[in-house]
Amino acid sequence: MANANCPECEGVIELADGSFVAGEIIDCPDCGVELEITSVQPLTLELAPEEEEDWGE
């Protein structure tokens, strides 16, 4: 298991070895923010660029 902390909420993210590749986008299980896998060994994550959905209430 590879793990790293979510840059947004510091939640622990665990990924089974070999189940992910660099550049892949995953969701943080705690805060749901989209993260980009910037390296595999060691596992590093960055906030994926994504546009903020406008609710327009």
Binding site: E8, C9, E10, C31, G32
Partner: protein, 354 residues
């Protein structure tokens, strides 16, 4: 070997909800349920959702026989009058009313405008909110219920005070939005459908009694905290949402307090809690806690937001006032008191859409 459990005052919403949960609880046999007015009638005549689930009939409280656990869901003021007699009926007692929630009889007089009938019993009761009082409840024989508006407020704020992040001198302002089932099963002019529908009604701008339990949970003798609660009735039957406004300690602001610190405080307080879910998401419709998807479940959803420009933390919590705010928490306490797995009989996840 199941335990025998009786419910005193089971004609109301809270008592009916305890009954619904216990009927599906693998360790429990519901021995008796009482209602003076409805003695002899089938319970499902008042609780139609329980049709075909039980043929239990209400009995008068005088007919109550000894049992292993007694839930009391009588109107406020009844249990404290009858506590001596009730305590002889069962070794473990859980009272959902407000009679034994406050530790100090002075507080009771102040908030409930009458002297407590049995003040010596106050210290024998443990406040029944497992998330902040689990070990005391585990070993207790007498446990009080919790107020729904107090609980949603306490669960929203607890991590901030546990981690000592809040500027106590600033006090707390909390706005509670509440559903109609908080008013109970008794019809009143204000619950008349044409007047209650689509209400956005300032029910209690000040002086709501549940404030006492928030002061008790978050207050500290040596460092008083001002809690300012306002309750607004909204278009909802089950469910309550609290939006609490707190300010971060100045010294922490200087050290660069940020959202991550809130995650740390909330995860630290609730990471292992079976019934608390942290909800703060970037996408989707339900990004912050919301009551309607919690109806019938024992979950409390807790979230937060932060305004770095002013240091204001907005702590948000939602729950079902009849479940996590009353009956669900009471059954959770029973599980702890009897050594059952804490989530037994409380795994319904709520509905979506609802």
């Amino acid at each position: 070997m199941t335990i025998k459990v009786a419910i005193l005052g089971a004609s109301g919403y809270a008592g009916g909800e305890v009954l619904r949960l216990l009927l599906d609880h693998p360790e429990v046999e519901v021995s008796q349920v009482t209602s003076e007015r409805n003695a002899g009638r089938y319970v499902y005549s008042l609780h139609p959702n329980l049709r075909k689930r039980t043929n239990l009939q209400f009995v008068p409280s005088a007919a109550l026989e000894p049992c292993d656990v007694l839930f009391s869901a009588l109107p406020h003021g009844e249990a404290m009058e009858r506590i001596e007699r009730l305590s002889e009926l069962a070794p473990k007692l859980i009272d959902l009313s407000a009679d034994f929630r406050l530790h100090s009889s002075d507080d009771y007089v102040k908030w409930y405008d009458r002297p407590h009938a049995n003040p010596s019993w106050l210290e024998r009761f443990v406040y029944g909110l497992p998330e902040i009082n689990r070990e005391a409840i585990r070993g207790a024989d007498f446990v009080s219920g919790v107020g729904c508006n107090a609980t949603v407020t306490n669960l929203a704020l607890w991590p901030l005070f546990r981690a000592d992040l809040a500027d106590r001198s600033h006090g707390v302002i909390v706005e509670v939005k509440a559903g109609s089932s908080e008013g109970g099963a008794q019809a009143t002019p204000s619950s008349h459908h044409p007047d209650r529908s689509h209400a956005v009604r300032s029910f209690a701008p000040v002086g709501h009694r549940h404030t006492a339990e928030v002061l008790q949970a978050l207050g500290a003798a040596q460092d008083p905290l001002a809690v300012h609660m306002s309750v607004t009735s909204i278009e909802l039957v089950r469910g309550v949402l609290a939006t609490a406004h707190v300010f971060v300690k100045p010294e922490l602001l200087e050290q660069g307090f940020a959202l991550k610190d809130l995650w740390k405080a909330y995860r630290g307080a609730y990471g292992e809690e079976p019934f608390i879910r942290l909800v703060r998401e970037q996408k989707g419709v339900y990004r912050f806690p919301e009551p309607k998807i919690l109806a019938g479940s024992n979950y409390a959803d807790v979230g937060f937001d932060y305004d770095p420009a002013t240091g204001r933390v907005v702590a948000i919590a939602a729950l079902d006032n009849l479940m996590k705010g009353a009956a669900g928490t009471a059954v959770q306490c029973m599980n702890l008191m009897c050594g059952f797995e804490e989530t037994t009989g409380l795994t319904f996840s709520g509905l979506h859409p609802a």
